[in-house]
Symmetry: C2
Subunit: 331 residues, 2 copies
């Protein structure tokens, strides 16, 4: 009996000991076609994890940062958070009869994207404040979850959280298996992302950096609450991304993944550290399976960053060529 137990324990331990090796033997990135992008990823991970190697990075410094819109999930025909805001305007409109004649709400209610665009940044911020503020943080979380449970993407007719890029899910998991801590650093609202990133991406709320509005602590009827105020606190985009990374993480990442000019400074900040670096841009080149856009797109414009990436030989993913599948539901 004792010997059997010992043997079973030994086998169990052997499995535990060799499981990482077995995992490595299978391709950890099956949705990536063989090519320069996949090779660059695998080569970087091999270098920084090789104990005793010149490029070894201890696990606590293996920080990888990911943009969200256009990098982990799509941003067409508009940022998904804008679709959320437009839906919220429709839900709240009966309580705001004045919106029928007042921009940007009139345009939002009419679905007139051109008129909405004409209201500019000021209009969009007004829309965000009217739909994202004025409730407690708990109430907002419920609103986001309820919307995600029912809203459908207009092209794919699926929940938005189904539309995550399968190659990037594999990449997130591959990095974590190799001791990386994976972070989102997005221009999107931090509280719009946190309710679902752990389930969908395996990224816990404390590893999500994003734009935020101010909140205020209050005691309401004896109960402490945080109330969301109609005032921007931080815009985590462009030059804001290195600021957000420094504020939240306090270490310089060794790998950064983006897809637009909004990610340029994050990649520059990451690139400037000492030692091996992985800088990667997703280039949307696949109109059939997803979308094809870059220098002219109102959402996720990729122009200056594309030139700099080519000049510095950062890794550029050609979605059409490099990704065998795009979405989890692709065959």
């Amino acid at each position: 009996m004792k010997r059997t137990y010992t043997r079973a324990l030994a086998i169990a331990c052997a499995i535990a000991l060799y499981a990482p090796i077995l995992t490595h033997a299978a391709d950890p990135l099956p949705s990536w076609n063989d090519g320069a992008a996949k090779q660059a990823i695998v080569a970087c991970v091999a270098k920084v994890t090789q104990e005793g190697g010149a490029a070894f990075v201890p696990p606590e410094e293996r920080i990888a940062v990911f943009d969200n819109d256009g990098t982990l999930w799509p941003e067409q025909p508009m940022y998904f958070q804008i679709a959320f805001a437009l839906d919220r305007v429709r839900v709240l409109a009966p309580q705001h009869p004045e919106w029928q004649e007042k921009q940007p709400f009139k345009a939002a209610l009419a679905g007139d994207m051109r008129a909405l665009a004409e209201t500019g940044l000021h209009g969009v911020l007004e829309l965000i404040m009217a739909t994202h503020a004025g409730m407690t943080t708990e109430a907002f979380e419920t609103i986001v979850k309820d919307w995600l449970a029912t809203a459908r993407h207009p092209r794919f007719n699926r929940p938005y959280t189904n539309l995550v890029y399968r190659p990037m899910l594999e990449l997130l998991e591959y990095l974590r298996t190799n001791g990386f801590k994976t972070w989102i650093v997005s221009g999107g609202g931090i509280e719009f992302m946190r309710p679902w990133t752990e389930k969908i991406y395996g990224i816990p709320p404390e590893q999500v950096v994003g734009s935020s509005i101010k909140t205020k602590f209050e005691i309401r009827d004896g109960k402490p609450v945080l109330v969301r105020l109609p005032e921007m606190d931080f815009i985590d985009d462009k030059a804001g991304k290195p600021v957000g990374i420094h504020q939240f993480i306090g270490r310089r990442p060794i790998a950064a993944f983006g897809n637009s000019d909004g990610d340029l400074q994050m990649l520059q900040w990451t690139a400037d550290g000492k030692g091996t670096r992985l800088l990667l841009l997703v280039h949307h080149t696949d109109a059939r399976r997803e979308w094809a856009y870059d220098r002219q797109s109102p959402f996720g414009r990729l122009d200056k960053a594309l030139d700099i990436a080519r000049d510095r030989e950062w890794t550029i993913v050609d979605m059409q060529k490099d990704w065998q599948r795009v979405f989890p539901f692709d065959p």
Copy 2:
């Protein structure tokens, strides 16, 4: 040979498997005297870690937040960061001849704490901005590290980072061993803490929440830098603490540790969640080994929070009675 290897493996695995149990068998909190405080800590950890138990909390939700000044290290005769700022004023004074006649610098240079106090919050902020801003984040980190390497506490004549509370170090480790993620949530400057918290407390920079000034991303001579600006960004004290917790962690803690009225809202916010909670205040009652102060202290005043803690039966540590040792160098 094979059998020997199998046996060695089995033994090694058995050690690995039972190490947590062995750790439990030894007292994980040897610097805590037996008493209500220690019992409350151990009871809470036992409840939330008991798989299948009614109070079980999954590891990802085991968030514990710690104030720093007065909770993990002392705050007398003044916050250590103020000692740092005063030393910086002395170092920088030759470049600022105007400081000899200008408050709050004149008082700082003369070591006149009464005159400094009279300059109020405005004076203290001016002192902070003059000493904490105007350089890159990397340069500031070096300044902090250099100061900590040479500065000595006036009473104990030791480096400030030697003056951490040994019972709290044990508590941090005990919680982490039991799957908790330990965070600092301090009114102190986030970038004043991050250079040393990992080494001293085992708390990595990304788990430090604190007060901050604004930073700005720039390209200087082709090199991306973050420059520290003389403008407050966030004050992580009192009602700011739940805001900071929500902003950085995005989950409600299940355990909160503080020592002053500045921690009251953090404890209230933590207490209001569902399920088992551990709320603890360190009461400084030991003038011989440390300091004795509460309702009248200019640093770390404990007044309103003490009343509320007693009323709600939160755990109050009587430093003199509950702590067998205070500092790591105590016999």
